[in-house]
Symmetry: D2
């Protein structure tokens, strides 16, 4: 690697602001040789127990990101900052979650970017909430509704653990009463009967704004299309996404034997004036 | 729709900061009945010519987003703010672009969020550049390299048209000389021979940071996996994404007859310390 | 190629019974350099006009299969026996057809093999009829029902052109009156409302026999599942097939840019005693 | 069901020749409530032990196909003739097999029908061999080569168990020495290095005949395309097939959560004169 790195040009710019080493309070991902991974928040003095052996958090703190750290059984664990994808996959959950493949596409289709005001229901375990909160940045906000107290509490804990609490307001509320917000940029429903809340969603959104929902069954999509058809929404789209993983071996490149075949149908629409 | 909107609760919050009507300088999308759409920047006095007839920009300015505006031929055109997906699809291009389905997933896999420093090569028409620039927000930055002056100029024009010029620095440079940046959070290569720049990429990235590239052929993926294997990268993943669109008709829900079957293979990796 | 062919072992067996050259009356496929192909029945004295130029059938007769024959414009056309796949794709049609990918799978799922008695409705252009007729061989039979005289006539012409007329009986009949057959091995419905004929299908089939249908919309599948649920059928399965074609270039192996995304949902079931 | 069945028309035809009840020596499939199934050959006096309980073959013999027969634990098992798909899936195997989705498509692309002479190597567990043997009927033949004695013996046992022994000749032979056959209609290779046998394959096939192979990795496809390119083959095609299964529930139609994502790439070609 050395030549290029040594020959750092005169006008080279050190762009990194975050620490090159893991610090107390950082969220860390440890990956074993078997590709299994663990997500943890670094705390001085704490211990991590994995099936590859035990590790002291103190052995990780002040270690460079991207290093292999051995467990007490001598197994190397790779220390990394988790990606959004890693975080969503590792999230403690009691509900079906919105997967990263779908969440990333939702950002594109619903133009969710720094500064946006987004409304969401139900919160569930907070997987989409965290992606939205991350994407809207400190100048945007997510207003997320959930009707089950235990689920809301889990989402709150998940978001707090990620340091995103102040970007998302979690409300324990039945949305049949309507949303508090009006003029929102985007609104996403991840609940079994979104057709019952089409009016409430329209009222919460700015004119021309982005509506989306995710539904596991074709029957639900059919019902939702019926509800959207007569309700002040246009540009209705239904799409599915597939991610096909490959075995990443140069000598034997091939798709994995099995893949996730379905998470949900995505329905998108725009509010009409 | 009325009941809910009228029954606006006492604690209702008007979250929208942007104007509910189209304003001079706004980027607008006009969609005809045939679902064909046009992207335009609103300029007082300008005219738009479509196969549905002519429209004066002045008829659009001060009109509510989400309204139907008739052309002089009497055909209704729906006035909307474009989504990121719309903008990418409508982008003036002379090169193959990174599609929104892939771009959204790249954000998730490479943790690109407000405040990130991202390096990219080649810029191409700027499709991925604009998605990255939008995602990193005003506190992040995109450093994008391109070797062909005409392509760089097109990307510059595209980004300027979207008001994203100050978030992305476009450099006309051969990256075999290396990148100016060091300690970057993420680096993405969209060029035919990324294996030739693996060292340069490693030198530009922070330890443990995110590397990605997109490649159209299996041969290229095989060559890239070979190059990554011996070069200070780990957690190598190869994936493909498919988007399957449906005919959004409640009475006859079915997939579209044809779909895009391939854009490119995505390769992701992490830098090792 | 020569060494192996020359070194033909003593116990070598010439297995081919059909002529190594094209004969009058043979069905032939001609493929141009652009991969476009034409299906024709060879007739002494006849001429074929293609966008690559004109060819006399006499130039093809007595020519080896697998040879390139030039048109009068000097363009080489490859002379081949058509595959079942080629024949189905080239079939004159006025209706949507069952594609080879689905037809081949139907053979596997419904155990259609030499000697089988198969019932089918509607005949349509005869695409599935010809695959079934070919598969059941001279000792089996296909009984195919169609309600539209013009469509039946086209299918009759298509099957006659393939020399399969005596393996398939085409009936012009409304199947709401029931099928003539009883104890059939397999029955396939390719019509818009198969749920209206579930009783008739059950009556035509042997106990434990194979039922199948193909339906373009999810709504139809839902309605059909409802009808099958209470009607003496079991082991109900719903599946879709995709074929993804690649650009077959050794140096640049990659999927084609676009593909057929949907032909129909396949529904299979077994009759209960 | 009754009305139609009772109203059997005067010209009704009883087409079934096989027995409506299970007979000694028949191949039978038993399916439990959990959809798990067992394949067995009925023998008077024999017993079947399943996790749903024990069943005497004598309780199945003379029972109507399509009946539910209780085990001694009182669990109902559905008695059916197995489909080709069932047989392939249940086949005793020591090797990767060609799946029914691919086998059915191979029949279509390679025009395998009653009367055909087909050559195959390697035999493997005999999954494709049995599909080919069934499809060519009593007037066709399959010549199948295998180099490993134990594998050949398993295939022999599998084919004998299906009563297909006289339609397929299994040869224990290294095909680098060439095939015995010349002028074959179709030849299929399911082995890791088909590029080493391109000349042998060409020598065994009639001019213009059908060649096919299945390969798990992109690297192998690339190598094979290189070999076919200069070797007397044309009309080269590479394709993959996917089967996507659904949960067959009328009220909640949706794809299964997971699916088989890859079995192999199919390569097809035609021999040139």
């Amino acid at each position: 690697m050395g030549d290029v790195a040594r020959a750092m040009p005169q006008d080279s710019v050190i762009v990194q602001e975050s620490s090159p080493t893991a610090q107390p309070g950082d969220l860390a991902l440890l990956i074993g040789r078997d590709r299994k991974s663990v997500l943890l928040r670094l705390e001085p003095g704490a211990e991590l127990h994995t099936h590859h052996g035990t590790l002291s958090h103190d052995d990780l703190i002040e270690t460079s990101w991207g290093s292999y750290v051995p467990t007490r059984m001598g197994r190397p664990m790779l220390l990394l900052r988790p990606s959004t994808d890693d975080i969503v996959r590792q999230l403690t959950r009691t509900t079906q979650i919105v997967y990263p493949k779908d969440a990333g596409y939702i950002l594109m289709k619903m133009s969710i970017a720094p500064g946006c005001c987004v409304v969401e229901a139900g919160t569930g375990s907070g997987a989409l909430t965290l992606v939205l909160a991350q994407a809207v940045g400190p100048t945007g906000h997510v207003h997320s509704y959930e009707i089950r107290p235990d689920v809301r509490n889990l989402a709150r804990k998940n978001l707090a653990g990620l340091g995103l609490s102040d970007r998302a307001t979690l409300k324990l509320r039945d949305i049949s009463e309507g949303f508090d917000e009006h003029g929102a940029d985007a609104l996403f429903l991840d609940l079994p009967n979104p057709w019952d809340f089409v009016e409430q969603a329209h009222a919460a959104l700015a004119s021309g704004a982005f509506f989306g929902c995710i539904l596991p069954t074709a029957n639900q999509v059919i019902e939702m299309l019926g509800a959207l058809g007569g309700s002040g929404f246009g540009v209705i789209e239904v799409e599915e996404l597939f991610v096909r993983p490959y075995k990443a071996t140069a000598a034997r490149l091939r798709p994995m034997d099995r893949m996730v075949a379905h998470t949900g149908y995505l329905v998108f629409a725009r509010t009409l004036a």
